[in-house]
Subunit: 206 residues, 2 copies
């Protein structure tokens, strides 16, 4: 594509760095911004910069947070005996939307994926182990709520091994989720049900 | 959706102001930016602000331009006797990509749409009339390359009336069956129009 100006070419190139946005969509967005009031662009840009530079992560569950400890971790109403392991913030939102879960979370920040060069060290697995050690009197159960993909299964397997010396139940959400499906796209009923009917890993079944 | 932080909520709200981007997609984009290097976000934001605050419009054709007069309008290789009227920059790009047109352009900046509150005064129709007056010795033909919608037809009708006192040809791009399109899947209006405005094979191959 031959752009009429360097500025729009640069903007299209930058916007199309976002996942799922190609050059044509980027151009459409750029032309939209040019038509809108200048404040629209400025406030979008400002929100992006603030998001990236000011966002904190909860030191307990590693979810995105405004404070050092997030509202879920500091809430007295949450069940502190259960920790639900998820890949990222979107999964926390999806599970919260079901209204079926009252425990705490732990956000891994990704899944183990040798293809993408993501090993256990890139995730918050070690912090999870330390967290359980710190709160060993409180934590009774870990729920693995990972996508049923190769990466999810690998990560679940790795974490299960890491946790085998702790005296806690480790469960996984029920495979009501279609294999190959992404957790964030699951409907609320299926996702809620899958938490209620989670399958317990029994020790004699190893 | 209940967001874990005000910053991400604000970012999602801002991103979803873009056309075709809902809250879920906005959240996906926001989380992508949080995972990427900080420089990615900063350079995207910077490109958006530069685009919106520094972009100029060619004083002749009103296309986006780096200079006061765009490269097309100032090019000695373009045919100055034809002006092609288009809705926006994307249409200029689309026509340029065909490699079939050597004339100049005039970017209207939209189409007349009472539904959206866009009247002739919002478009560059008056500047077009002045431009033709200024260059009346040069300009021989105006090609209307507008979308075949109610808005496009309204705009074409309005412009045709505005230009009726000038001694110039006014034409419209051909409506018909797309190349590679199956005849049986064409809608009745298009097919009917393509028969009425059929192209004659001339013996002298003009």
């Amino acid at each position: 594509m031959q752009f009429p100006s360097k500025l729009i070419e640069e903007a299209v190139n930058e916007i199309s760095r976002l996942p799922g946005i190609g050059k044509k969509t980027a151009l459409r967005l750029a032309l939209f911004l040019l038509k809108e009031d200048e404040r629209t662009t400025l406030s979008i840009a400002d929100a992006l910069v603030k998001l990236r530079t000011l966002t904190q992560y909860c030191s307990e569950c590693h979810n995105i947070s405004d404070e050092a400890i997030c509202t879920t971790c500091s809430s007295p109403r949450r069940d502190r005996s259960v920790i639900c392991l998820v890949q990222d913030t979107r999964d926390v939102l999806a599970i919260e939307n079901t209204g079926q879960y009252q425990g705490l979370y732990h956000v891994l920040g990704g899944l183990i994926s040798p293809m993408e060069g993501i090993g256990p060290a890139e995730l918050t697995i070690e912090p999870l182990v330390q967290r359980i050690q710190r709160q060993s009197s409180e934590v009774k159960e870990i729920i693995l709520a990972l996508s049923p993909t190769i990466e999810g299964d690998t990560t679940a397997f790795y974490i299960t091994k890491k946790l085998k010396d702790f005296s806690l139940k480790v469960s996984t959400i029920a495979r009501g989720i279609p294999i190959g499906g992404e957790l964030e796209y699951a409907d609320e009923v299926t996702l809620g049900r899958s938490i209620l009917t989670r399958t317990h890993y029994s020790h004699d079944n190893k």
